[in-house]
Structure formats: C-alpha cells, structure tokens
C-alpha cells in the first residue's frame, strides 16, 4: 500500500504520533524490532517519539538505557548483526560526538567490510533543530555530518504522513538508517506548533520510499530545495509570494542519503532558478552538495546564480534575536527567492 492509495482510511495525527504508529505497527508485525534509548520507556521519549510503546510492548522490547550512547548504539549494532531490527534513539543529534565511532566506524561500515556477509538493519532516531532557544549544544541539524560519511542512509521527514511511511521503510530497510525528526514539526503540546505538524495519516502500514523527494507545491518560477521544518517555511513563503505573482516550486528532499537529484533537476528544468534552504550549517554540507550536483550535471539549468539559505557557520546562539537571525526562516527565504529572480 502506498501513501496515495485512494481507499485508505486516514485520521489526523501529529508527526510524533505518526512516527510512533509506524514503530508500533512494525513491532506488531516483526518480533525482531525493539526500541532502546534514554527516556524512551515510561517517559515516552522527551519529544514523544515513543509514547505508549512501553505499555504495549513491555520492558523487554522498549528499553530505557543508561546515558551511555556508545554502549547502547553499539548494542543495537551488534543485535542487528544477529538478525534483530533495533531502533536506537540518540536524544539530540547534537550528542553524536559521544558515540560517533559506533555510528560511522561500526554501524555504517560493517556491511562493507564484510562484503555484505553481515547486514546491519537498524534505525537511529534523533531529534534535530532549533528555534526555541536551546543553545549551541541542543539546536543543531547536522544531517550534513551524517551524510558525509558513507554507509548509512539519512532520512528527514517533514510531516506526519512521511514520518510514518519513512519510519516503516527505515525499519524494513536492511541498511542502517538515521532518522532525523525536527522538534518543531512533532506537534508537541509544549512547543510552538507548525500548523502542518498535525495532518491526515493512513491507518494501515505503508512505506515512503527512501531516496525519493516530494513536491509539496508545484510552481514555475523558482525551485526551493529544502527539508524538514524548512519545508513549511518555504511553503509559507510560497503562499505569500503567490499573491505577488511569483510561483515557487518546493522540493521536500525527505531523504538526504540517497539524494534524489532527478527530482531537483526536473524541477530546475522548468524553473531555472535554485534556492536551497538548509537548517544545517552552510558550509561543507548539504546545501553545497546540491548546488554542486546541479552544476556538474548542467550549469545551463541555472539562469541565475543559485542561493543558499542556511545557518551561516555560527553555533546556534541562545538569545532569541540572535538565533532567529541565523536560522533560515521565512524572511531570509523570501529575500533569497526575490534575489534569485532579480526582483
């Protein structure tokens, strides 16, 4: 079943609930799936990414861990090599530095080193993103950091339906998948809610293919390539600009690795203008990769120099006016679109 099947029953869910539903449905189907991490049991995940799982599946399959990320992510890797399908939560992506060796030197490389004789089917879920003054160590996106290192897929849902479908795909995938959810789209009751963080989701299990971008809004003047929370900022800007006669196409990458270049190229084929919006740091990351791949393919696709709207290589400041200055919010996206169109 796919997300677009016409007969499907849908309800309205938050992104968090949709994500949990994806996990729960897979746990019902496959006894090899289990969840571990900090505060994912009774608490249900500090960003509600595991709410209710402990009640349904018990402490043998939903395990609160010590604050020992190397140990429990490594545990997940070892369990995966023995045929289980663990989901390990790294509470904030910002904490990758305490356990990156397990992630990129082990989880991501074992399949290669063994020439495919050992598979590592696991998911690391992790919260990303800023905008609520959580400071330098709790606000980063960092998908560029994970994507740079080969051997793991990186998915980044922007809405409830994708959150569920990408979760199911990630669990079923025979590769390690980093699943990065933005706190600002989880639909949490205690955080400013993006209005699209509650949306219809099919009841039945379904997959969203990993590596396929979506086009939540078609348009003819400019292509805004983006992901995660920034998709919503881009859509908001597109709505505003439509009133001014500017027709934006928004590409929601959904997956950073693999990257769906075809969808980007196709879009640029009819718009000729590129704006990349990326809540990760500007340099040496996703935004440069996208521009570069486009230009390698065909620089003539771009009628004007592309523009990147990202965090300008500065740690995320705590104070609100500073943080909002450096985040790729609607004002900066709008300005970039106008600039790339020469308005």
């Amino acid at each position: 079943m796919t997300a677009t099947a016409a007969t499907a029953k849908t309800r309205t869910l938050t992104t968090a609930k949709a994500m949990v539903e994806g996990i729960a449905q897979e746990m019902r189907r496959d006894p090899a799936v289990f969840v571990l991490g900090e505060d994912i049991g009774t608490y249900g995940g500090v960003f509600s990414s595991t709410t209710g799982l402990l009640d349904e599946f018990g402490a043998d399959r939903v395990l609160d861990t010590p604050i020992s990320e190397s140990a429990f992510i490594g545990l997940a890797t070892g369990a995966a090599t023995e045929g289980m399908r663990p989901i390990a939560e790294l509470m904030f992506a910002d904490f990758f530095g305490v356990c990156m060796d397990q992630i990129y030197n082990h989880m991501a490389k074992i399949h290669f080193e063994s020439a495919g004789n050992v598979k590592v089917p696991m998911v690391i879920t992790t919260a990303v993103g800023g905008g609520y003054s959580d400071g330098t160590q709790h606000s980063q996106c960092l998908w560029g950091t994970f994507a740079h290192l080969p051997g793991m897929k990186v998915v980044v849902p922007s809405n409830p339906a994708d959150a569920k479908g990408l979760m199911i795909s990630a669990i079923r995938d025979d590769n390690p998948v980093i699943y990065m959810f933005h706190k600002g789209i989880m639909g949490l009751p205690w955080m400013a809610k993006n209005r699209r963080s509650v949306a219809p989701v099919e009841s039945e299990p379904y997959e969203i293919p990993i590596g396929k971008a979506a086009i939540p809004r078609a348009g003819s003047d400019v292509t805004i390539v983006t992901l995660s929370l920034s998709v919503h900022h881009a859509l908001d800007v597109a709505d505003d600009l439509a009133a001014e006669g500017i027709d934006c196409e928004v590409v929601d990458l959904r997956s950073v690795v693999p990257l769906d270049l075809d969808t980007i190229l196709e879009s640029l084929g009819h718009t000729g203008h590129l704006v990349v919006v990326d809540e990760d740091y500007l340099s040496f990351g996703l935004s440069g990769e996208i521009v570069s791949r486009v230009v390698e393919k065909d620089p003539a696709l771009l009628r004007k120099p592309p523009l990147r709207v990202a965090v300008p290589d500065v740690p995320l400041p705590y104070a609100r006016p500073l943080e909002h200055e450096v985040l790729p919010g609607p004002a900066r996206i709008r300005q970039a679109v106008l600039e790339v169109l020469g308005r």
């Binding site: 604050i67 305490v98 104070a319």
Partner: protein
C-alpha cells in the same frame, strides 16, 4: 563546626533556593496559559537545582575564586556558591547583552573566567576540561584545584571513566563530585547504574571515594574538606558522591508522571531541615532570606534592564 561556617552554608543554600524560585517564577511568568518552551522572557530548557543546595554550598565553601568549578546542564547552584557574578549570570539566562556570554550561551553555558567557572549541557563531558584546568593550575604552582561536578546519571558515560583514570594517573588536583538525585530525567538510578554507590567506583582508579548519604550540607562540607586538602597538597583526585534531592522536575515543564518517590519529596527539603538543625529563629532566618531576595531581585532587574543582543552581531565570536 563553627557557627559562622554554619551560617555561611545556610546563607548560600538560601541564596540558591531564592534564586531558583525567582527563575522559576520568571520562566513561567509569560508561558501561560499554554506552556511554550520557546516563549517568554526566559526561553529554552530550564534545569533548576532546588534541593541540591547542600552540594553546592558544602563543596564550594572550600574554594577560592582562583579554583575552578565545572558544572552541568543544572548549574545555577554551583555558579552561585562559587561566586559567579550574579547580575551577569542572570542577564545571560535572560539572553541579554550584559550576560556572561552576551546571550550566546544561555543557562547551560555560563562562563565566568574571573572565578574559573564553566558548564556544559553534554552529560559528563564537563569532566575532561576540568582536568586541563587542574593541569594548568598545577603547572602554575599556586595550589589551586578544579572541582568537576556531574549527576549520578552521568557516571555511566565514557568521559567519566576516562577522566578519573587520567586524573588519578597524573595525580591532578581535582575533586570529582557526583550529585546523586536518584534520577536521570525519568530513569531511576537503579535502571542506569549497576552498583548502588558510585563511591565504590573510585577504587577502579585507586583514588579515595566517599558517599555522603543524607544531603546534609555539613557532611558534604566535611567530605570535601578532606578531598580539597588532598588535591591542594599534591595527593591527587578524589570522588565524592552525595545523595541529594531533585525537588522539582528534570526541567521545567516536566510533569514527573514517572516519579515514584514524589510523595516523600517535600519532607526531604534540606533547607528547613538545616534551619531546624541550626535552631535559627525567625528574625535571623528572615534577615538571611531578605538579603538573598534583595540580591536576587537586583540581579533579575539588572537582567531585564539589559538590552537584547543586536541581531547584527549574530556572526560575532565564532573566532577570536
């Protein structure tokens, strides 16, 4: 213990509690009726240390401004006890231009080099830099030391282990302090730690380890005195675990539905207990409370007066 020391400890504890209550008030003041973590004069995560005053007061009483203290995501009590500038610390928590970090850091990133205070939001990762401060202090030969503090949940992080081994090996002048408040967010100590006292872990490094069982400030003071003397005199590091109390939630907004021990919490508040032990009359206690309140409210007024940082300066301070 001398009466003056006792009063000093009590005063520090009251200052801390007064501060945390004031921050609590300010933090929630404009997050009503619906709690929004990113809204209000103080946005972001807020980890308050009410109940853990005995640790900060008892430990920092032995330090001077030339000694270092590194704290965690829950740093206010230690900052106050170690003499961090109250006004500038508060301005930082409010994200203002006169803050210690001009609003860049926030409540988990308070740096006051004039008293060698720092903190970090990453579990246990404040320990290694403390080793370096101790190393530099020993090099300077003035007998200064570094005190590194974490929670009991942090003890299971690799950086804890590496730090204790290296400090022990190099006999660095460090005192490691573990605040055991029974909880790491929602995870009880029994679900995170394979031994019931982290003091036993000191033996894994060949250093002295003690556990103070009862959140009593004088017991903390006593245990720290010995450890500080040892560090200052070249005897190397020690580990002190204090069984303390998280009086409130892990962070503000935490409903604590998971918390099995909630009923007993109010009765364990260390401040009334210590006041009773000291047999302080109302007048004495009120004076102390009023002094604390005056200082705290002055700091909060200072913070509120301070301008917000200019967005145009957002790219500053990445590099020196």
């Amino acid at each position: 213990m001398e009466r003056s020391t006792q009063l000093e400890l009590y005063r520090t504890m009251v200052l801390i509690r007064t501060y945390e209550e004031a921050i609590l008030r300010e933090y929630h003041a404009d997050k009503k009726p619906v709690f929004d973590i990113g809204a209000g004069l103080i946005p972001g995560e807020m980890h308050l240390a009410a109940g853990q005053e005995p640790v900060a007061a008892g430990v920092c009483a032995h330090l001077t401004a030339a000694d270092a203290v590194t704290a965690t995501h829950r740093p206010h009590h230690l900052a106050l006890a170690h003499g961090v500038d109250l006004r500038r610390m508060t301005a930082e928590i409010f994200g203002r231009e006169d803050g210690l970090g001009r609003g860049r850091g926030g409540h988990m990133h308070l740096f006051d080099p004039s008293v060698h205070f720092s903190c970090s939001g990453i579990i246990a990762e404040g320990y290694p830099p403390a080793l370096g401060q101790a190393f530099a202090f020993r090099n300077a030969g003035k007998g200064n030391i570094a005190v590194a503090v974490t929670g009991e949940g942090a003890v299971n992080q690799g950086a804890f282990h590496e730090s204790l081994n290296l400090a022990a090996l190099w006999k660095l002048p460090v005192v490691f302090v573990v605040e055991d408040n029974d909880w790491g967010v929602s995870v009880p100590r029994s679900a995170s730690t394979s031994v019931s006292s982290n003091a036993v872990r000191a033996a894994a490094y060949g250093i002295p380890g003690v556990r103070v069982e009862d959140n009593n400030v004088e017991a903390v003071w006593e245990a720290t005195r010995e450890a500080v003397e040892r560090a200052r005199s070249g005897g190397g590091p020690s580990l002190i675990e204090v069984h303390t109390l998280r009086l409130w939630g892990h962070f503000e907004g935490d409903a604590q539905a998971y918390r099995s021990d909630l009923e007993n919490v109010p009765g364990r508040d260390p401040i009334p207990t210590y006041r009773a032990q000291l047999e302080l009359d109302d007048r004495a206690a009120d004076t102390i409370a009023a002094d604390a309140s005056a200082r705290v409210e002055d700091a909060i007024a200072y913070a509120k007066r301070s301008p917000e940082p200019d967005p145009k300066s957002a790219l500053s301070y990445v590099f020196a």
